[in-house]
Symmetry: C2
Subunit: 436 residues, 2 copies
C-alpha cells in the first residue's frame, strides 16, 4: 500500500474521550472511528488487524474440530421465549419490531438459535458430537459504552456451541476448546490465563475465563505466578487424544476472578507466588448441560433407541475486543508495537527523499518484495512525520531509506519492538525481515 | 471433512415454500436454514460457498484499487437526516430505538456513513481519489421476502464508494468498478451483462446494472445477443490505465432493463440479434456527483487553495444473492453443479464399502491428498444415498471407490458438470482433478 494513495489517516491530537491506551492509540492511528456511542467503523488499518485476529481464531477452531457456520444478527423474540431468556435478559438486549410488528432482537449471543438449528437436523447419536461456531457481529446495549472497542455495543464475537451425548463427551468438548483458546491467544502474542469464573447469564456449573493482565483491566484477578511462565505452543496437540493433562496442568495453580476468589485456597499459595492484578477478559467457556436443549426439546435417539437430551457448552472469544487487548499489551509512549502475527503490515518503507533516483529505486525494490504486506511511505512529508506515523501505527519493521544510504546500497532497518537499528544491504535487510 | 463427523445435513423432502431452483436446492443441500422470514443461517456447506464468493469480490476490489473498511450495521438516524433520506426511505428501513431512546436503524446502505467518515479525514486534493468498500450484512425489511437468499431481509452486500475531485476523475472510478465487476462475475463462471439502469433511491444520473439471464429472474431485460459471447478474462487489465475501450466495448451493443428500455433504439437491433429475457440483478453501479457530499458538507482544498466538493459514486454487489444466482445458472434435476472457483469442496470421495481394507486405504489416500478441499463420505449409508447426496451438493468431482476398483488400484472419477465418468489409477485421478 502506497501511503500517497492509501486511506490510512492519523490524528495529531489525542482524543479527549479516550481513557485507556488502546482506545487512544486506535483513534490516533486511524484504526477505527466511532460512528455513535460504542459503535465503530473499522478503517483500513484496523480492519486488517481485525481480519488477522479473526483468521487465527478461525484456524484454531477448525483445528480443534469445530465447524463454521454463520447465524444472522436479527433473531425472533419467539426463540428466546422458548428458553425463558427473553424476559430475563435486561435492557442490554436491543429489541425491535419489524414492519409487521413482529418482535425481533439483535442477537447478543446465540444459544437459542444454534439449538434450534441443531434440533432441525440432528436425529440420532451418530449426529453427535458436533461443535458449531460462527464469527458474527453482536449487539449489547451497554448503558455506558467505554474504552473503545473493549466495551463497545456492536462487537465481533466468535461463539462456538458443542453438542454431546453425555457428560463425558461434553467434558471432552470443553477441554478441546480450553486448549484451542490457549493456542489462539498464544499465537497472537498474548499470555492469557484460564481462571475459574462465574457462569453469569449463560448458566451452567463449569466455566473458565481467559484473561490477560493489564492495569486497565476491568476485573480483579488472583493467580499463582507460575502461570505467567507456562508455555503453550511448545507442545503439539492431538485434539482427538486425551487433553486432560494439558487442562490439568493449566488448572494446577490457583487462578480466579474476583467473583470466584476463595480466600482459603488463596492462603495456600506461597506469599511470594501470589499475584493480584487487573485483567482483561478475552475469552469465556461454559459447560451448561441441558439448560437449553431440555426446554427447547432437542433430543436424539441413542444407541439403544432411547431418546437422549444432548449436553451442551458454549465458548466465546471477543474478536474485536482482542484488538484492543493486544494493544494494551503491546505499546509504548510512541504508539503500537504489533506482534507480527497480527500486524496490519509487516514492514513500512520510509522514503526520506522522494525524487532522488537512487532512493526511490531502492525503496521501490524493497516495497515490491513485501507488497501487499508492506506500506510504502512515499508521501511529501518531513522525515519526522514519517518516523512518528510509523511508530504510532506500530509496523514490526521500518526500513529507512535516504540518499546517503541509497548511494551505498544500504537500508537502515528499525525493529519497532526493541528499538534496535542496523544498517544493512538490501539483501540482508530482506533476509532479516523474513527471518523474524 | 469426514461426513461421519461433519455437520452437512440434507433434506429428503423438497420444502414446499421454495418456488425457485436455487432456494429449493439450498434448503435441500443444507446450505442455509431460514430462522425467520427472509433471514437465514448459513450452515457449513453454504458458508463455505459464501466465503469463496466474498473472497473473489474482495480480490477484484483490491485489484481495482479500492480499500477495504468495515462499517457497523447499526447507524444513527441523525446521519440520514443530514442527507434527507431518513424520512424519504420507506418502511424497508428497519428503524429502532436504543435504551436511551435514540433513533437508530439497521443500515440498508452506507452513503451517509462513508461520507461522514471521509469528511473527517480528507482535507486536501492529495487525499483524493479514494475508493472505500466494505462487505457487511445489510437489512431491508421487504414486505414479502421470497426466493430464499435472492430476496432476503438480512443479506450480505459489498458496497464501494468513490471520492473524486472532478467529473473526469469520477468517470475513471466508475470505469474501474465497471471492469472489476465484469471480472468478478466472470471468475465465478457467470455471464453478467452490464445494462443501462435506473438510479432509484440512490440517485444520480449514470448507472449500470449487471444481470445474468435466468428464467426465474425478477427483471425483464432486452439485449443484443453479441453480449452473451463477449469474453472478459482474456484481456489483462491495468486499472491505472485508460479503461474506456473496455467499457465502450461492453456498451457498444444494446442492453437495458425494463425501466430504461427504449423502443426506438431496440428497433435498430437486427431482429435475429434481439434477446428479450428475464434477468437476475447481481451488481449495480452509480455515479451521483455531489448528491451526498454537498448536503453533508464534504469539502477538500483544491490544488489552487479553493474548496472543492468531491464527486461520488457507489457500487454494490449482492454477495449472498450471488450464491443463489450461481445455482440458478448451474444446476440440473439432481442438484447443484458448482463452478470450481466457488465450490464448497472440490472433491467428494465416496467410499462404497467401509471396512474393506483396500477400499478404505485408497479412499483415505485420495482424501488426504485434497483435504481440506475435499469431503470424504465415510458414512454407513447405501451407495445410492452417497451418489444422490454428492450430486445434490454439487462437488465438481466425485471419486467413487469400491472393493473391485480398489483391488485393481482404480478410482472411478465422475465430473459433475458433464456427467463424464472414467476409471483411472490414483495418480491419474489426482492429476485430472488438479488439472481441471
Amino acid at each position: 500500500m502506497r501511503l500517497s494513495r492509501a486511506f490510512l489517516p492519523t490524528l495529531k491530537e489525542t482524543p479527549a474521550e479516550a481513557q485507556i491506551a488502546s482506545h487512544r492509540l486506535m483513534l490516533r492511528a486511524g484504526m477505527v472511528r466511532q460512528t455513535s456511542a460504542g459503535i465503530y467503523a473499522w478503517l483500513p488499518l484496523g480492519w486488517r488487524v481485525l481480519q488477522k485476529v479473526e483468521q487465527i481464531v478461525r484456524e484454531e477452531q477448525d483445528a480443534a474440530g469445530a465447524q463454521e457456520i454463520l447465524m444472522p444478527t436479527i433473531q425472533t423474540a419467539d426463540l428466546w421465549r422458548q428458553s425463558g431468556r427473553y424476559d430475563a435478559y435486561g435492557p442490554e438486549m436491543l429489541r425491535l419490531k419489524d414492519r409487521h410488528e413482529r418482535e425481533m432482537l439483535f442477537g447478543p449471543t446465540n444459544e437459542e438459535m444454534v439449538t434450534d438449528i441443531f434440533r432441525t437436523y440432528a436425529k440420532s447419536y451418530r449426529d453427535l458430537p458436533r461443535n458449531l461456531y460462527h464469527i458474527q457481529w453482536k449487539f449489547r446495549d451497554e448503558v455506558r459504552p467505554r474504552f473503545g472497542v473493549m466495551r463497545g455495543r456492536e462487537f465481533l464475537m466468535k461463539d462456538a456451541y458443542s453438542f454431546d451425548l453425555d457428560y463425558a463427551g461434553a467434558q471432552k468438548s470443553y477441554r478441546q476448546m480450553f486448549v484451542a483458546y490457549l493456542r489462539t491467544f498464544a499465537r497472537m502474542g498474548l499470555k492469557a490465563i484460564p481462571m475459574q469464573a462465574d457462569t453469569g447469564p449463560i448458566g451452567g456449573n463449569l466455566s473458565h475465563e481467559f484473561l490477560i493482565l493489564a492495569e486497565t483491566g476491568e476485573s480483579q484477578v488472583y493467580l499463582h505466578k507460575d502461570l505467567l511462565e507456562f508455555d503453550v505452543l511448545s507442545q503439539p496437540v492431538d485434539y482427538d487424544g486425551d487433553l486432560s493433562p494439558i487442562v490439568d496442568f493449566w488448572t494446577s495453580r490457583y487462578a480466579a476472578t474476583d467473583e470466584k476468589h476463595d480466600e482459603a485456597a488463596w492462603a495456600q499459595v506461597p506469599a511470594e507466588a501470589q499475584v493480584s492484578a487487573r485483567g482483561i477478559e478475552i475469552g469465556h467457556i461454559f459447560y451448561f448441560g441441558t439448560k437449553y436443549s431440555a426446554p427447547m426439546g432437542l433430543q436424539v435417539s441413542g444407541p439403544d433407541g432411547k431418546m437422549v437430551t444432548p449436553e451442551m457448552g458454549s465458548y466465546g472469544i471477543g474478536v474485536s475486543r482482542l484488538v484492543g487487548a493486544i494493544i494494551e499489551a503491546n505499546h509504548d509512549e510512541n504508539g503500537i508495537r504489533w506482534p507480527e502475527a497480527v500486524a496490519p503490515f509487516k514492514l513500512a518503507v520510509l522514503n526520506l527523499k522522494k525524487g532522488d533516483a537512487g532512493t526511490d529505486a531502492l525503496a521501490e525494490k524493497l516495497y515490491a518484495t513485501f507488497d501487499p504486506d508492506a506500506v510504502y511511505d512515499d508521501r511529501d512529508e518531513r522525515a519526522g512525520v514519517k518516523f512518528a506515523d510509523a511508530d504510532l501505527m506500530g509496523y514490526p519493521w521500518q526500513a529507512i531509506i535516504g540518499p546517503r544510504g541509497a548511494a551505498a546500497g544500504k537500508v537502515e532497518l528499525k525493529h519497532r519492538a526493541t528499538g534496535e537499528r542496523v544498517e544493512l544491504s538490501l539483501e540482508d535487510a530482506i533476509a532479516r525481515i523474513r527471518g523474524a
